[in-house]
């Protein structure tokens, strides 16, 4: 048997899906990764719901109603850290050297990776949301609004996946990538996902993460929980 010279080249879609399929197989064959991500996210949720949440008061709404939407979004960071580590490991293994020496568009390689990581993050977020419902969270708006909120979580997953793929590439080693991933966690506490921003110190209240962030925390909170809060209490979500 001889190997024939390929007649065509792999386009961006073939490349992205081939790389995404590889990451998917990796996850399927190493179920611990997915398992740990789910357990971690759910544990954090339960911790806030039952342990720490008791000490945090939010006016006009029960804490679980306040917590779950914001936690689902900021919890994406917990999962995304793993993708930075995996990308750094791939880079160290020489995989990207091989891929860059192939006649394929480089951006499609990263897109494939980000797509698979986003799917993982989205799945973990869905499980977390489901557990949130079990422990007392209810969607307040219409089914369409709930679906739109979940759709937005998917979009956020993809956006975060790109950021963490990039972090994995520039970190230089898996260890550094892990450190970078963990660095994101304390920043998530600066958001208004856990504590109402009016109760935060003045400095963080006006920080870009709580009040002016165009990208994630507030919008995520707004989108997922705002529909209900607006109806229940006009002061539930003060604009800052």
């Amino acid at each position: 048997m001889t190997v024939l010279v390929p007649t065509g080249t792999a386009g961006p879609l073939t490349t992205a899906f081939t790389i995404a399929a590889r990451t998917g197989l990796q996850l399927a064959r190493t179920p611990q990764v997915l398992g740990i991500a789910v357990v971690q996210s759910v544990l954090f949720l339960l911790m806030f719901r039952y342990v720490i949440g008791g000490a945090i008061g939010v006016e006009g709404v029960s804490y679980v109603e306040f917590l779950v939407p914001g936690f689902v979004v900021s919890g994406l960071i917990f999962t995304a850290g793993g993708s930075a580590v995996a990308v750094a490991e791939d880079a160290a293994s020489g995989l990207y050297d091989r891929l860059r020496s192939l006649p394929i568009p480089g951006i499609a390689v990263l897109a494939g990776r980000a797509l698979a990581d986003a799917a993982l993050m989205f799945f973990v977020a869905l499980v977390t949301l489901l557990v949130g419902v079990v422990v007392g969270f209810r969607f307040g708006g219409s089914a369409a609004e709930a679906l739109a909120a979940i759709g937005l979580v998917a979009v956020f997953s993809l956006a975060f996946a790109w950021i963490f793929v990039w972090l994995g590439l520039v970190s230089g080693s898996a260890q550094a990538a892990q450190g970078l991933g963990i660095l994101g966690v304390p920043f998530s506490f600066l958001s208004s996902a856990f504590v109402r921003s009016t109760r935060c110190p003045r400095c963080s209240r006006s920080s870009p993460i709580t009040s002016r962030s165009p990208s994630w925390s507030r919008r995520g909170v707004d989108c997922c929980s705002g529909t209900r809060r607006r109806r229940r209490s006009s002061t539930a979500f003060p604009t800052t």
């Binding site: 007649t7 065509g8 197989l25 293994s93």
Partner: protein
């Protein structure tokens, strides 16, 4: 035929380090070229430049006549790269790994299947094809990695230190796999620190040191540049050593510990015949007599003024 690689004045700096310092090298098509040099000589930088991974600061580089700086994408259709580490996915089977890379090389789904099967067969991995790579030995991973660079049937295969870190048995297996490829007509450019590896696999050897070409040629050409042959004589009875040395003349040196006499030879086979006659005439009984060519180690030392500084493979595997 057009040379497969043509480098002219290739320069690449990394900060203070000049990895390539004006490298000129022409690799004829249809050959196996070994790039031989110590750590830090610029071998890997050169391979990465050919593989379009590193952009040179100055100079020109053509692969199969294609300018690497201007048409990197076209160069990528010609080459296959197996880097220093085995870039295969442990959570996938050997066959899945090859099919994935085959798809990326541009094969269709069916062709990928065929190419993966052919390469597994070629590298003796068919039996292990369905096993996850995480269960493979180091040598098997390297062979699979070599296979991954082959599924696109590249004209030029780039192997960067293919056997570094392998035990002697795996090394031999990989050598046989590479030799089989060469027999099928794939051009190979490999880098190595091991003189025996260059000697065994390559038609042409280019010695580079500090980013420059020091010497190039066939192993035999390089060896004859390095110095003279040696006639090695082993006498049957150690008492004959002095007598043998006297018969061979003034330049002969005696290695009493191993019952050997060594004579530097410039005249090749004629001188060997003369030596045998002289020893016969003196009535010395011989166990062995041979004309030994200098090893590539001798060559490297003679050309660069220092040894390869390479660990021997035995030390690596220990």
């Amino acid at each position: 035929m057009e040379p497969i690689v043509e480098a002219e004045g290739l320069t690449k700096r990394f900060g203070d380090v000049e990895a390539l310092a004006g490298l000129d090298l022409v690799v004829p098509a249809g050959k196996v070229l070994a790039l031989l040099g110590p750590n830090g000589a610029g071998k890997t930088t050169f391979v990465r430049t050919i593989a379009t991974l590193t952009r040179p600061d100055a100079g020109t580089l053509r692969v199969a006549g294609i300018d690497v700086a201007r048409h990197p994408h076209r160069v990528r259709r010609v080459i296959g790269l197996a880097g220093q580490s085995a870039a295969v996915e442990p959570a996938m089977s050997g066959r899945e790994n090859l099919r994935m890379v085959a798809r990326l090389f541009g094969h269709g789904r069916r062709e990928s299947k065929v190419a993966a099967a052919a390469v597994l067969d070629q590298l003796g991995l068919t039996d292990a094809g369905e096993r996850l790579v995480r269960t493979y030995s180091g040598g098997m991973r390297r062979r699979l990695d070599l296979g991954a660079s082959l599924v696109g049937a590249p004209r030029l295969l780039l192997l960067d230190e293919p056997t570094t870190g392998l035990d002697p048995r795996s090394r031999n297996e990989l050598w046989r796999a590479i030799e089989a490829l060469v027999d099928q007509g794939t051009d190979v450019l490999l880098t190595t620190q091991y003189l025996d590896e260059a000697d065994r696999l390559a038609d042409h050897i280019a010695i580079i040191d500090r980013g420059r070409l020091v010497a190039a040629g066939t192993a035999d050409e390089l060896k004859s540049r390095a110095g003279r042959d040696v006639i090695d004589v082993r006498v049957r009875d150690a008492q004959d050593l002095g007598c043998a040395a006297a018969a061979l003349g003034g330049e002969a040196t005696v290695d009493a510990g191993r019952s050997r006499v060594a004579l530097p030879a410039t005249g090749g086979a004629d001188e060997l015949v003369a030596a045998i006659r002289a020893l016969d005439g003196a009535g010395v009984a011989l166990d062995d007599i041979a004309l030994r060519r200098p090893t590539l180690d001798d060559v490297f030392l003679a050309l660069t003024g220092h040894t390869t500084d390479a660990e021997t493979p035995e030390e690596v595997s220990a």
